[in-house]
């Protein structure tokens, strides 16, 4: 080990870590320290070795490895200053060119010093905070700011002065400078594009997701389903890690006296076998009943997706769907991809006039035994029953038999009880009745359900 990294290299690594974070690789301070340590170990002469070493220290899953490789390649290509026209022309100029202007930028341009230009651009980018770029709209501003940092304004003045001076040599120089300036613009824009790709791709996506999570489930466009699905799965994952606990926890150190004495009988009263107390933690058992008439179907889809992604935590999940008849859809959901399963369900029973009474009756007749005192019943529906008997008596029975009944209604609360909605009647038998129309609401409600099961 030979001391710390030199400062510029450290800066580069910091920037790289920033880019990694933007491509959704979590880099904690501890990992950043590891990265630096790794760098000290392997050095940066061997690029492949550097890449492998950093990858091993920073990327923590298969997907992250892929993203890392991509990001590494994108990040370290910007060291090369491409598109520089061949330097032959510049060098063939008569000597003494070095003193022609006293502007470093103009010098660099005239001599076509690609390395110096690249370095200057990096420095300018740092000063202009290029790595803070987040939005597409900042693009132009940023490249402008970078060029200013490099001394564009002075260059413009110089060109203007030369043009006015009237000397043929100055005019020629001015033309050449103006030409190179255009190339410089181009390069600055490319630089900013790369920065955008490195640092900003993530932010845009995150923003879209934030919007999606707050968007009405019923108003989600089919082309958004994919990102929505990913979002749902991630939310479910978050809850799953939070609430999946061991069901049997061995409480070491708490002797179960009764059982130990009982076991000692076989050894003449000598307690050779010790029995420890254990506590059992319940896992939630959930019955979901989904209205799949048109107005609710979208919400139902995401609810089911959500619950099925929670399979690590939810011990037993039974799903039913109805519009006028109630059917068990659990097997279908297990066998098929969720999207096609939902389509199948809708084809079979969806879009018919809703009849809550009949559906509840079907449920009560055929699936009563799925509900016991450990079960939470989640009903998703608008409670609009087309003026037929809502069978409140059955609702009462279900509420009585289950641990809790949660009603999620995609309609806003002011509509409850209006028109053919019997929501006001149903809610009397629910432990919780809530508006649920966005993914965020959904997550909060499911979390509540899970929390009541986990030990404090």
């Amino acid at each position: 080990m030979d001391g710390a990294l030199d400062v510029p290299m450290q800066r580069t690594v910091e920037e790289f870590l920033k880019a990694l974070r933007a491509s959704e690789i979590k880099v904690s301070p501890a990992e950043a320290i590891d990265a630096h340590k790794a760098l000290i170990e392997v050095g940066y002469a061997d690029r492949e070795l550097l890449k492998d070493a950093l990858c091993i220290a920073l990327a923590k899953s298969e997907a992250e490895v892929d993203r890392f490789d991509e990001c590494f390649d994108a990040f370290f290509t910007r060291d090369e200053f491409r598109d520089a026209p061949p330097p032959s022309e510049a060098q063939s100029q008569p000597g003494g060119q070095g003193g022609e202007t006293d502007l470093p930028l103009a010098e660099m341009l005239l001599q076509n010093d690609a390395v110096a230009l690249a370095r200057a651009m990096e420095v300018a980018a740092n000063r202009a905070r290029a790595s803070d770029v987040r939005l597409n709209t900042q693009r132009f501003l940023l490249s402008r700011r970078m060029l200013d940092e490099m001394g564009l304004r002075e260059l413009e003045e110089l060109i203007a002065r030369m043009r006015e001076s009237g000397l043929p040599r100055d005019a020629g120089l001015a033309e050449r400078l103006a030409e190179r300036r255009e190339a410089l613009f181009e390069q600055a824009n490319q630089f900013v594009d790369r920065q955008m790709k490195l640092y900003a791709s993530e932010t845009g996506r995150r923003m879209r997701e934030k919007l999606l999570a707050e968007q009405k489930l019923t108003a989600i466009e089919p082309e958004e389903f994919k990102s929505m699905e990913a979002l749902v799965k991630r939310m479910a994952k978050r809850l799953a890690t939070k609430y999946s606990r061991k069901r049997h926890r061995a409480d070491r150190g708490k002797l179960d006296v009764r059982k130990t004495i009982r076991k000692s009988m076989g050894h003449g009263g000598v307690p050779f076998e010790i029995v420890w107390k254990t506590t059992t933690i319940e896992k939630p058992k959930i019955v979901v009943i989904c209205d799949v008439s048109r107005s609710v179907a979208a919400a139902a889809q995401f609810l089911l997706l959500f619950l099925y992604s929670l399979n690590e935590v939810v011990e037993k999940l039974e799903a039913f769907a109805f519009s006028d008849r109630m059917v068990h859809v659990g097997d279908l959901l297990d066998a098929e991809e969720l999207n096609s399963a939902i389509a199948l369900i809708l084809k079979r029973i969806g879009f018919r006039p809703t009849d809550y009474g009949r559906a509840l009756n079907d449920f009560w007749e055929n699936h009563r035994e799925d509900v016991d005192r450990h079960t939470t019943v989640i009903i998703l529906g608008d409670g609009r029953s087309n003026y037929v008997n809502p069978r409140l008596d059955l609702m009462k029975e279900i509420a009585h038999r289950s641990r809790a009944v949660i009603w999620l209604n995609p309609e806003p609360e002011t509509y409850w009880g209006q028109g053919d909605s019997r929501m006001d009647d149903y809610r009397r038998f629910c432990h919780v009745a809530k508006v649920c129309n966005t993914l965020n609401q959904l997550e909060r409600i499911i979390e509540d359900v899970l929390r009541t099961y986990s030990p404090r």
């Binding site: 790794a38 070493a53 220290a57 298969e62």
Partner: protein, 319 residues
């Protein structure tokens, strides 16, 4: 605080450079990619555990075995499963022995307490005897404790960590970051020489961030044809070059199909062994059909592949 080894101290060891690791592993029969070797190198130099991920049969466990062989250290293996807890992973008191000793020593106890006039003085004497029964002789070390207490270091393999519970994962954190464990009755036990730790995971469930952060991460992908040929050649010495090329090409094209479980390296190696035993020097349709069950483990997969065998063989022969 981890023990820092300087580069000079270990320059003679097989872990001195990435290239020497690749060579060393090849000598013990493991063909490592550069990334694998780099991971090992970093594990040694940063003193961190390696979390090895990849599908079943790509050589995760094998890597740990070969690293132990390379370093000439004992391998201590702990297989994880649901319900594994610290009494099986770390230590356990020898309850039976403790009880037996109390029974045997009962009379002696009486003697030494004799003459104590009051309850209090008896208690004092008892205190004076110390925590006799909660001391090292009654401690039953399990794999983790063993790994910490092995003189000269060890290779610790925590296999299939994803099968254990999340609570157990949390329990591992102290060991993985500081190479020490705390036994409440005795105190903190620290590794004399930090073991080289491998954790393997099949992604049955996602591991917690805390654990991942403490580990270097190595994902072993399925190898490309050239690497796989070298692996087969090393593992199955009797295999002819032509057969080797053909069977690897065949397996590689199988991986492109939509199968329930694509064959991984261990299946390729098994298949190569089987074919060598059958004295094959090239693939033929009958031979493949008869031995397909070595590489494909699901009936549906075999049924799906069987009609394509001829096509796949001719493709493999061209490769």
């Amino acid at each position: 605080m981890t023990v820092q080894l300087t580069t000079s101290q270990i320059s003679g060891s097989p872990l001195a450079s990435v290239d020497s690791i690749i060579e060393g592993l090849a000598d013990v029969g493991y063909i490592a990619s550069r990334r694998i070797a780099t991971a090992l190198f970093m594990a040694q130099h940063l003193q961190k555990p390696i979390l090895v991920e990849g599908m079943a049969g790509v050589g995760k466990t094998e890597l740990a075995l070969c690293a132990a062989a390379l370093l000439d250290l004992p391998l201590i293996r702990m297989q994880c499963y649901e319900g594994l807890d610290e009494s099986k992973a770390l230590y356990e008191w020898k309850y039976g022995k403790q009880l037996l000793y109390t029974q045997i020593l009962k009379d002696r106890m009486g003697e030494s307490l004799e003459g104590a006039s009051t309850m209090e003085s008896a208690m004092d004497r008892l205190h004076g005897m110390g925590d006799l029964f909660f001391s090292e002789p009654f401690l039953e070390p399990r794999p983790l404790l063993k790994a910490l207490r092995t003189d000269g270091g060890a290779v610790l393999l925590i296999d299939e960590i994803d099968k254990s519970d999340e609570a157990f994962e949390a329990f591992l954190l102290e060991i993985l970051s500081a190479f020490q464990v705390t036994v409440p009755e005795i105190g903190t036990i620290k590794a004399k020489v930090p073991p080289l730790v491998f954790l393997t995971s099949n992604n049955v469930r996602d591991l917690g961030d805390a654990l991942k952060r403490r580990c270097l991460h190595l994902h072993i992908p399925l190898p490309d044809a050239r690497l796989e040929e070298r692996i087969v050649a090393t593992r199955v010495p009797g295999v002819e070059a032509r057969l080797n090329r053909e069977l690897v090409a065949f397996v590689q094209s199988l991986r492109g199909l939509e199968l329930r479980k694509v064959p991984s390296i261990s299946e390729t190696v098994d298949w190569a062994r089987a074919l060598v035993l059958l004295h094959a020097d090239a693939l033929s349709p009958d031979l493949v059909r008869e031995t397909l069950n070595v590489i494909l483990k699901f009936e549906q997969d075999i049924v799906a592949v069987e009609p394509k065998i001829n096509e796949l063989i001719s493709k493999a022969a061209e490769a």
